[in-house]
Each structure stands twice: as structure tokens, then as C-alpha cells.
Subunit: 247 residues, 2 copies
């Protein structure tokens, strides 16, 4: 049972503005919710339908859990086919980039990625390849958008997503900057070493001129066919795979 | 100007059943439409808004072109933000797999891919890496679904998508079958040679037991982090990249 005002409160979290105001976002599906519970995130409350009850054993006792009807779930869910459980989770404090400026590993930097599915898939892929920091320009899609959370498949609970002025960060870091461009050197002939920043640009316009000037190594995924470009999450994955196969 | 009955006819093509009955599907956006015009596909008709007119110069004179209002376009479009032009295109005759059974190159085979965005991205990626045949099990998403067409970014005009009994095909082909599994040999140590089939499975359940038994080389993308799996379009891309870098 859930009140009308709770329903409209949770529904309001579908909007970025309200998520930011309230510092809360929505996670759906038991597996993803368990990953957030087992992470540094604070899960505020959980709403589940009756048929999920037998599977709830692993949920923390400290979390407010409310049984609701399927009709109620369909009202608060962001999915066309809700997954029997929905959690409201706190958005963590933004990390300042100074806390990672001396990192000696691989980071991903995203310049203006617009599609939430792409951002979520990049976070999931980063998690598979063991890259735990994704830096985003301020005009990149919101990581707490339900579509990003969904596409990340729980990986958002482990990957640190930092929104910042990418230009300032690239000016201050000592890490080499590898930029995904259409006219760089072949990725298959690139030595990534043991650390660096993989910089990827907007779906339509690529990397902005300002940030292109900060690239140390322009890198291209060679084309063997006729498509004009690759999806940005696909490019990110091929970069991750290449830098791991060589390291 | 477009009649009410034309509007409802084009809208009906948003549904798979009607697309199949009528043998027609929708393509949106000038760039994609031009790629279909320049391909073996037959473009039946084109609907555009006034502000697109200056760019229409390259369109074939043989295609019925109708100027419509933005309101009319929003009624027939499958997009939340329509792209000023929409085409109705003929679905080509299905190729029988016998026509490609003696192919000596790389093919992609998809077992039950459900998400249209994944299928479209796989088609786009195949086109980038010069793989021009995608075989699909009959329960794979419809390649003429507007979301597939959109995600393929015009590449559907160049990649031959064949729906077939994958088991029969794998029984009859002489090509080696490389299956994307979680417990195979490292893709980084796999020699793909010059030809073969890359077999990828359903988003949730992977490759079916029946098809797993037909795999010659089980192959895995090594995991360096904690995500449980990779998105199937991401896996497809890493396979394409690896087989090209080695060939």
C-alpha cells in the first residue's frame, strides 16, 4: 500500500530537475537493486509486488520496504514492463576531479554524450573492463536518468561518474589523452601503456574543437566497410578492449 | 498535403504485422533515405516538410514525393522528434540461406536478439567492419522495426539480413562457428582465419542449447572488472574488431 502523494513523489523522480532537487533517483529490477545495496550507495526505500516476496530474503533490514500492487507499481515505474521491484536511491555527493587528478590508471572522458542508452552501456562496459571512473562534460546525459540506470545493468553502483569541466581536467592531468577521431592513427597500432584518458565525443558532432586541441594521441578504429561512423558506446568498447589486450 | 487514409496507412506500418502484410517499412531522416535510394531497395514514396525542400535536389525523380505539414509529419513519424522527411520503402524478398551457404567470408548469426536498438547497432557495426550478412533466428527482432532502422543509421540498406532456422544453416555450412560464450577461450588468443560465423545469443539467456552444440570455437571476451555481462551489440563489435585486426 502506497499513498497517492508517495506515488506522485516517486513519479516526479522521472524528471531530472526533481532528481537534482531531492537528491534521489530510481533503480528497477531485483538484481540491480541488490548491487546498489551492496555498494556505497544509500538505498532509501524499496517497493515490491507480492510475487517478488520470496526473493526478498537478501535485502537489507535497514531499508524501508513497502509491498504494493501491480497497478501501483505501474504508476511509479519508468518501464513499460515493470520488473516487480523499484528502489529509491540517494544520489551521492559529486566527487571533485581533484580527488582523481593523480590517478594512475585508465579513465573514460565523455564530451557531450546525449543518448542515455549510450551512457548506460558505456558505464556497463567500463565496469566489465575494470575502468572505474567516467568523467562527463556538463552537457552529457544525466547518469541518474532511468534509461541510463537501466542500460548500466547495475554497473552504475560501481563506476564513479563525475560531471566536470573536461577542459580544465585535461589541462591539469598528467595522463596521456587518447582521442577517438576519424582521422587518427590505427587503434591496432597504438600502444596505450598502463594509464591514460580515453576521450570520446558527441554522437553527431564528435569531440569539440576546444577538447580536440588537448588530445595527445588521435586514434581511429579502422573502417573496412561503408558505414559513416560507429555508435559511441561501440567505439568506447573497442577502446577498452584494445587497451586491456595490450596491458 | 496528405489524406487521412494515407496518414492511417503509414501509421499502420509502425506495426510488424502490417509491415509484413504490405511488404513496406518506414525510413526517417534525409541521410538514411538517400542511402536506401542509392541501394538495391525500392523507395516507394517520400513525405517531407517545407523547410527540407532545398535539400531534396538529390532525390530520385522516380519517387513519389509529397510535401506535408509538420503536424502531418508528426502523425506518421515513429520518432518523438521527427526529422523533416519520412520514406516508405519496400521490404525486399527474403534471401534463402542456400544463396549464401558457400560464402567464404565472415557472417554474423544472431540467436534471439530481442532489443531493436541492439539489432540496429549490430547492423551498423557489421557495415563498418565490412560484414554484409547477418543471419537471424526467427525469434530475433524484426529488422524493419523503425527502431532497428533508426539505430542502423542507413546501414540496413547495405547489410543483408536473413531470417532462417539457424540450426539448419549451421548444420549445412562448412564455415567454422565461433560462439560468444562466458566460458570459452580468450578472444585475444583466438585465430579467426579468413572466414567464419560469429554466433551471438539472446540478451538474457545467451545462445540456446541446440545452437551451442554446433559451436566449433567457444570464445570469451575476458573480464577485468565486475559487470556480469556485456551488452550483445558491444560483444558483436569486439568480435568484429578482433577478426579484422587479425585478418
Amino acid at each position: 500500500m502506497i499513498s497517492k502523494s508517495q506515488i506522485s513523489f516517486i513519479k516526479s523522480l522521472h524528471q531530472k530537475k526533481i532528481r537534482k532537487e531531492q537528491g534521489l533517483f530510481i533503480v528497477e529490477g531485483l538484481k540491480s537493486i541488490q548491487e546498489f545495496i551492496n555498494s556505497d550507495y544509500v538505498v532509501d526505500s524499496v517497493y515490491y509486488t507480492e510475487n517478488l516476496m520470496p526473493k526478498l530474503g537478501n535485502l537489507s533490514r535497514n531499508i524501508k520496504s513497502v509491498e504494493i500492487s501491480e497497478v501501483e507499481l505501474s504508476k511509479i515505474s519508468t518501464l513499460s514492463t515493470p520488473q516487480a521491484i523499484l528502489a529509491v536511491v540517494r544520489i551521492p555527493q559529486q566527487t571533485d576531479f581533484n580527488s582523481i587528478i593523480h590517478t594512475r590508471s585508465f579513465l573514460i572522458a565523455l564530451d557531450g554524450i546525449q543518448d542515455p542508452g549510450n551512457l548506460g552501456t558505456i558505464i556497463r562496459t567500463a565496469d566489465w573492463f575494470g575502468l572505474y571512473t567516467v568523467l562527463c562534460s556538463k552537457d552529457t546525459a544525466d547518469a541518474y536518468n532511468p534509461k541510463v540506470v537501466q542500460a548500466s545493468m547495475g554497473s552504475l553502483s560501481r563506476v564513479n561518474v563525475i560531471y566536470t569541466e573536461l577542459g580544465d581536467f585535461l589541462d591539469q592531468t598528467n595522463l596521456p589523452v587518447y582521442g577517438a577521431l576519424l582521422d587518427g592513427n590505427s587503434i591496432y597500432k597504438t600502444d596505450f601503456g598502463q594509464e591514460g584518458i580515453i576521450l570520446l565525443g558527441n554522437e553527431g558532432n564528435g569531440i569539440s574543437d576546444e577538447l580536440q586541441s588537448k588530445i595527445n594521441y588521435p586514434v581511429t578504429i579502422p573502417r573496412y566497410g561503408k558505414a559513416e561512423s560507429l555508435n559511441v558506446a561501440i567505439s568506447a568498447a573497442i577502446f577498452c578492449s584494445e587497451l586491456r589486450r595490450k596491458s
